[in-house]
Amino acid sequence: MTKNKQIQDKAKRLSLKILGLGAAVGAGALASDSTGYPATNPEKEWGEHFQSHYTKMSPEEVKEAVARLERRYKSQYDKEIKVATTPPKEHVLFGYALNITRCKGYRECVKACTEVNNQDKNPNMEYIRVLELDRGTFNLEEASHYYSAEKEVPAPGKFYLPIQCHQCENPPCVATCPVEATWKEPDGIVVVDYNWCIGCRMCMNACPYWARRFNWRNPNLPKDKINPDTHYLSNRPREKGVMEKCTFCLQRTRKGEMPACQAACPTGARVFGNLLDPKSEIRWVLENKTVFRLKEDLNTQPKFWYFSD
């Protein structure tokens, strides 16, 4: 066999092998099948992919990032959406107290929350979970999470326990985030930078109150359901693959308004305010009522109290 022929032979064998591998790849593509979920990924400007962490950006960079987001939201939802960056006020530390005697399980808070916070719709992502418990017990594992909305509440022999983010002073979710995409603001609110979160879900594992939600898909947010009054760190529209959570409606409360859940509560069970203001209603509750906190033994120091009349 001449040397030339040998080389030809070698090349032939090699090309056959490459063809074979190519066939394997092709067959793999066919076997991968489709899943039936729609893929609706927004078009983004390059700058959004490379922008820095919210707290690392200069004021100019934040301005740019906000303008970029507002442009994207406009083209994505065909609606003007304002993204505020209102900073925390000094000498403010937000706290919440909930009167479980007054709570009747209407779940108006749950509804109001989904109306202002631009969560994924249908099925609705909800930040607040109201548990229905038998009177005489306090075992969460015996609670009903999906008590029927058609049945009349309060049901006889039951009481209700709404749970949402407790904005812990010692938040385990913040400690566990590998990239500091979630942190505690000076006014005590634990926030997420949706443009920084890598979606590992470590924080979800860490939360004792099951208060964190993940965007398993690109949120389904119809134009007419959008609240255009948003904040960078709270209710601006999110995207797939990132974490989100209750921020005590930071976009409202930093402007001195009530959180939506408090505003919607028909029984006045909810008390929200500044823990550093001795004349606030929340301070009055903490000083004059017998209060307790859920899972206080875990030392996360929640700023969410329960009390009864």
Partner: protein, 409 residues
């Protein structure tokens, strides 16, 4: 200059041998490439549509991917069971095969890293990990620790054998002090990768099933069961197809390691079962769900008991000298241990941590076809890496030993 040329030549030699083989070899590669590309195309679906394509939920937010990750970290750590006898105790046969263990560690590390990557919602933001450019929440976040120890372990297992083989190939003298130092480091490193992976779970005080001091020791025991068991199976196969003469001495040594590790693992299982179930309070709800079923939900019960029975069977077969030294039965026992530990430490550890949720909801999880296909793809990539490394290493080792083993084309 000469070193660079030498390294080039050495790399060429390795690459040449990696892709030399007969029909069976190419059939095997074809099969793995098929699975890997299926995994890749399936992953593209998941990437485009989001993780809604998985069976994961806000209730059970880690599943099959993390289960495989946890298991493979253990397999990677098990290389230390060859490193110690080879480099520290200068066990002759261990020295000959230690490199195969290290190759397995490399493949397992790569698979583990891939499994974490496909579990991330935004892998495009991986650069957020980089110091200075991004934010690296070390030492607070256990995941940053895991990133450090896994990449470090991968590098160690690439560099140590690379260094030795390079010197073997050129018949030059490798510095024994460097080898000993790195081998010692890799010993502690192997323990650390698995301990830290356990701490990833243990650190969650809100999840009592994971928040147990026994988690990390159990991880180690089960790792030193399944890893060496897998190595035994590979060795037996290599021996059988006469590619590489392993020697039963080292296989028997590994069999004893698997046997002891499995017994320790089972003792810890019993301790856990007693602690969780004797006075079953709210804290043991997850364990009840796993082993007995909870309020009519029992998806995992048949699976975990299959795993326990496999482990128990393997332990008995390995404990008795007569069955342990019968190579067919040993192979069977090792296969049982590999599957049993996967069940126990993969789905049997990760999923019940989420059920019930910290506020008491029971929501079950089952993987989707997407998760299964992506997982198979990653395993195939690991298989490719391991196969190609073996193809390179065996002729190199043959070269060193002066024996004439096959490199047929």
């Amino acid at each position: 200059m000469k070193t660079i040329k030498n390294i080039g030549q050495f790399t060429l030699f390795c690459a040449e041998h990696a892709f030399k083989g007969g029909k069976i070899f190419w059939g095997w590669i074809f099969f793995l490439v098929f699975l890997a590309s299926m995994g890749l195309f399936t992953y593209i679906e998941q990437w485009r549509k989001g993780m809604v394509t998985t069976g994961l939920s806000d209730q059970v937010s880690w599943g099959l991917y993390v289960a495989n990750f946890t298991y493979l970290v253990g397999v990677a750590a098990a290389a230390v069971m060859l490193v110690v006898p080879a480099y520290i105790f200068h066990h002759k046969e261990a020295k000959r095969v230690v490199i195969l263990g290290e190759a397995l560690a490399v493949a397992a590390c790569v698979m583990a890293i891939l499994f974490v990557s496909v579990d991330m919602g935004r892998p495009d933001r991986i650069w957020h990990f980089t110091p200075f450019l991004g934010k690296f929440n070390w030492p607070s976040s256990l995941l940053t620790w895991d990133v450090i120890v896994l990449t470090g372990y991968l590098l160690i297992n690439l560099c140590l054998p690379g260094y030795i083989l390079y010197h073997d190939y050129y018949d030059s003298k490798a510095d024994q002090r460097i080898i000993n130092g790195v081998a010692l480091l890799s010993m502690f490193w192997a323990i650390s990768i698995h301990t830290i992976t356990a701490f990833l779970f243990v650190s969650n005080t809100a999840r009592p099933f994971w928040h147990s001091a026994l988690s990390a020791p159990r991880f180690l025991a089960s790792a030193f069961t399944s890893g060496p068991a897998f190595i035994i199976m590979t060795f037996a196969l290599l021996h059988k197809v006469k590619i590489f003469h392993i020697g039963w001495n080292i296989i028997n040594l590994l069999a004893i390691i698997v046997s002891i590790a499995m017994q320790i693992n089972l003792v810890m299982l019993v301790a856990e079962l007693f602690t969780e179930l004797y006075n079953a309070g709210a804290h043991s709800a997850s364990a009840q769900y796993l082993f007995l079923g909870l309020k009519g939900y029992h998806n995992l019960v048949p699976i975990i008991w299959t795993g326990i029975l496999l482990n128990l069977g393997a332990a008995i077969l390995l404990m008795v000298k007569k069955t342990r030294e019968n190579h067919k039965i040993l192979f069977l026992a090792c296969a049982m241990a590999v599957v049993g530990v996967w069940i126990e430490k993969g789905p049997g550890f990760v999923i019940p941590g989420y059920i019930p949720t910290p506020i008491g909801e029971i929501f079950e999880y089952a993987p989707t076809q997407v998760e299964v296909q992506v997982s198979l793809g990653i395993l195939a990539i690991g298989g490719l890496i391991f196969t190609l490394m073996l193809k390179t290493l065996i002729p190199l080792k043959a070269h060193e030993l002066g024996t004439n083993t096959s490199s047929h084309g």
